[in-house]
């Protein structure tokens, strides 16, 4: 605090303007990132609240906390809020928004006003979703399967559908902004092969957002029209085909998983070289594996439909294609490991989260191969095995990456350091709590416990109690960073420009950056991850 007294704080994007209007009408990508941070955190805790209610209900075999109807609504809204209002926007809209211009040496995203528009669309969608939840909710499952959603459900399907439709626009605009920015706004000398791999990951993510999201949009429009006007496109009693709905839905919703995981992979690819003090192993392979995941991601959707009545031959092809996704994913995991090999590793908080990510993502990915195998899939379809698998990817993978990234770039975002020991503690708690919550679900699923039921046979109770206990530990692990991040904004140590001794243009500007990011447009004449020529953090701290 002493430095703050001596020298008045230099002007940055946080203190350049004050007041609510300067935030709600801002076109600064860094401020919009913070608007997103606050809003997705809000929805994360709503989604988490539903999750805890679900776990509480499953503490005992009997349906004693809530009735079946309420339980249906709980898991539906948990899924919709977490997928569409937290995971999809999480890393791109917060860290991506903040970092993409900084990392490529630009003053802002290509379309600052469209960036703000995307946040307002998200907020409109969020308010609609909240209104929907408070006035009755939805019970279709987050998947909106027809004909239940169009002909039978008595809940607010149309409102939820419209909310997700609007949030899709917000996601499309973010992706569009990133692609144009990465193509057109790079600083002189920032060639494609010098881009941080975080940028490559976001580029791949944005392509999926651009090409996938419109398909779920039109699908939801057709569901809404069918429910409101009785069109019959997806209704078998009127000549329609519910399988068509499932094809269209998963054409987006499978690639959507890669919207969630690719940015996390980008985060981990930044963290691992920095805390190993080594150049990334196989830059081109890591970059191209992001693109490959985006491309293959569009060719595997029907593996969600193996038992839905698709032809065996198309199932065989989709099974084989699903195996292919494992190749670029494995390339990433091996390259992270090879980067660490003989590196001088520091176990700082971001690195602990990255370790957690690599382990949990590998487990999620390998169990994904079980599910891509036709025979095993028939056995475990719609069981807790599937639940455990995709939570290992979407929570163990995506959320771990998100938290790792938040810790890594928090000094840049806030200009303050968080308490390191608490950070390490939180990473440990999240890792333990996560495994305790979801590992028992693999066993439960394999033993045959189906998903989406509010009660279960008594012999499953022990594993369910373990899972519920884990979820409370996980909740503490998620609350902790929120508390100490808020604390650090006032009491944290002032952060130097480059506290980790990291490569990347974002660390060459001050913490927090000025409104226009750089005092002079940077000219890049070095390769990415040039850790041989970057001083280790202690020296950097003295110099900075």
């Amino acid at each position: 605090m002493a430095t703050a007294v001596i020298a008045p704080e230099r002007e940055n994007y946080l203190n350049q303007e004050y007041g609510i209007k300067s935030w709600l009408l801002t076109v600064d990508h860094k401020r919009i990132a913070l608007l997103y941070l606050v809003s997705i955190t809000f929805f994360f805790f709503i989604g988490g609240f539903f999750a805890l209610l679900i776990r509480l209900e499953l503490l005992t075999p009997a349906g004693d906390l809530v009735q079946a109807d309420t339980y249906n609504k709980l898991f539906t809204m948990h899924g919709q809020v977490m997928v569409f209002f937290f995971l999809i926007p999480s890393i791109p809209a917060v860290l991506g928004n903040f970092l993409v211009p900084l990392m490529i040496g630009a003053r802002d995203l290509a379309f600052p006003r469209i960036n703000l528009l995307s946040w307002y669309l998200y907020i409109i969608a969020g308010i609609l979703m909240l209104h929907c939840m408070l006035t009755g909710g939805v019970d279709t499952g987050w998947t909106f399967y027809t004909p239940f959603s169009t002909a039978f459900s008595n809940t607010k399907v149309i409102e939820a559908g419209l909310a997700i439709f609007i949030s899709g626009f917000s996601s499309i605009l973010t992706g569009l902004n990133f692609v144009v920015t990465i193509h057109r706004m790079r600083a002189p000398g920032m060639t494609w092969n010098r881009l941080p791999l975080f940028i490559w990951a976001h580029y791949a993510t944005s392509i999926i957002q651009l090409l996938g999201t419109p398909v779920i949009a039109v699908t939801l429009v057709l569901v809404v029209l069918e429910r409101a006007l009785h069109l019959g496109i997806f209704d078998p009693t009127r000549g329609g085909d519910p399988l068509l709905f499932q094809h269209l839905f998963w054409f987006y919703s499978h690639p959507a998983v890669y919207i969630m995981i690719l940015p996390s992979m980008g985060v981990v690819t930044e963290i691992v070289p920095c805390f190993s003090r080594k150049r990334i192993f196989g830059y081109n392979f890591v970059a191209m594996s992001s693109i490959a995941i985006a491309v293959f991601g569009f060719l595997v959707w029907a593996h969600h439909m193996f038992v839905a009545g698709i032809s065996l031959y198309s199932a065989l092809i989709f099974s084989a294609l699903s195996y292919l996704v494992a190749v670029p994913s494995a390339i990433k995991v091996f390259n992270w490991t090879a980067t660490m090999y003989k590196g001088s590793i520091r176990f700082s908080t971001p690195m602990l989260y990255a370790f957690g990510f690599i382990g949990l993502f590998t487990m999620g990915g390998l169990t994904g191969l079980f599910l891509a195998a036709l025979g095993i899939d028939v056995h475990v379809t719609d069981t807790y095995f599937v639940i455990a698998h995709f939570h290992y990817i979407m929570v163990g993978g995506a959320v771990m990456g998100y938290l790792g990234g938040m810790h890594f770039w928090w000094p840049k975002i806030s200009g303050r350091m968080y308490p390191e020991s608490l950070g390490r503690f939180s990473a440990l708690i999240v890792f333990l709590g996560f495994n305790l919550t979801f590992f028992p679900q693999f066993i439960l699923g394999y033993l045959g416990m189906p998903r989406r039921y509010w009660q279960y046979p008594p012999e499953f109770q022990v594993l369910n109690v373990l899972s519920t206990a884990g979820s409370t530990i996980l909740a503490v692990g998620y609350l902790l960073p929120m508390v100490y991040f808020l604390w650090s904004m006032r009491y944290g140590k002032l952060a130097p420009a480059n506290p980790w001794g990291a490569s990347g243009l974002e660390w060459t500007t001050t913490s927090p950056p000025p409104t226009f990011n750089f005092e002079h447009t940077p000219v890049v004449d070095w390769e990415a991850y040039d850790y041989e020529n970057i001083p280790a953090p202690e020296e950097a701290r003295v110099a900075g």
């Binding site: 003053r107 290509a110 193509h183 706004m185 651009l210 699908t219 057709l222 019959g232 005092e519």
Partner: protein
């Protein structure tokens, strides 16, 4: 390359602060528009996919239902839209040459043609409504399978044809309405003389949008109106 925000002020009045020069700004806007159109292709693609499947399954019923559409109005509308695309191009050309007056005239013509399209589409929809061809409880379609005068068309399959007809032409018309809104604004700006040979990116990009909506119709017309029309 300008180094500080102050340096950007203001050799180019339309240059936004975060771009280095007008060329970069124009290229960014143009790429943004093309990407947006790619998302639109995917959006309509979902409906084209549904159309493809049901037309394959229920071809005979689709052919008969298709013949009940008014081919004269459909053809006129196709011509109207193609003409409007021409006037858009001429408006952009006028902007490139710095001719304010002809910009205004061509933009006004585009608006008139766009509204004419919507009017004709409205007439078609009204008659479909009167004939009970709108999907729902009172849907009723009379007709026989081609080549089998005594075999009536399956009501449900005909209803799916009209579901897709209304969904696709409805979505197309919604895009037309948005286009009319955009072009009204462009007309106002052109009237004020804001588009010069150096800066007319909004005109160019809105033109791309208008052509895209036009192209969607170029696909909708044969798919919906011209199934198995040969005698």
């Amino acid at each position: 390359m300008p180094d500080s925000p102050v340096a950007v002020e203001h050799h180019e009045p339309m240059l936004q602060h975060h771009f280095a020069d007008m060329e970069q700004q124009r290229q960014a806007s143009s790429l943004g528009m093309w990407l947006f159109l790619a998302t639109e292709v995917m959006f309509f693609g979902g409906m084209f996919c549904a159309y493809l499947i049901y037309r394959y399954w229920y071809f005979a019923d689709f052919a008969t239902a298709s013949k009940s559409l008014d081919i004269t109005l459909g053809t006129v509308n196709t011509a109207v839209l193609i003409c409007s695309s021409l006037t858009v191009v001429l408006a952009v050309r006028a902007a490139q040459l710095g001719k304010r007056q002809s910009q205004v005239v061509y933009l006004a013509l585009t608006l008139v043609l766009g509204l004419a399209f919507l009017g004709i589409k409205g007439i078609e929809w009204t008659s479909k409504f009167k004939e009970h061809h709108v999907p729902g409880a009172s849907f009723h379609f009379e007709g026989s399978v081609p080549g089998h005068p005594d075999q009536p068309v399956d009501q449900q399959h005909a209803q799916i044809f009209f579901s897709l007809y209304f969904a696709m032409t409805g979505m197309h018309a919604l895009h037309m309405v948005i286009g009319v809104g955009i072009f009204s604004y462009l007309l106002y700006c052109a009237w004020k003389g804001r588009y010069t040979p150096e800066y007319h990116t909004p005109l160019e990009n809105s033109g791309l949008y208008w052509h895209f909506v036009d192209i969607i119709w170029i696909y909708l017309f044969p798919l919906l109106y011209l199934i198995d029309r040969k005698k």
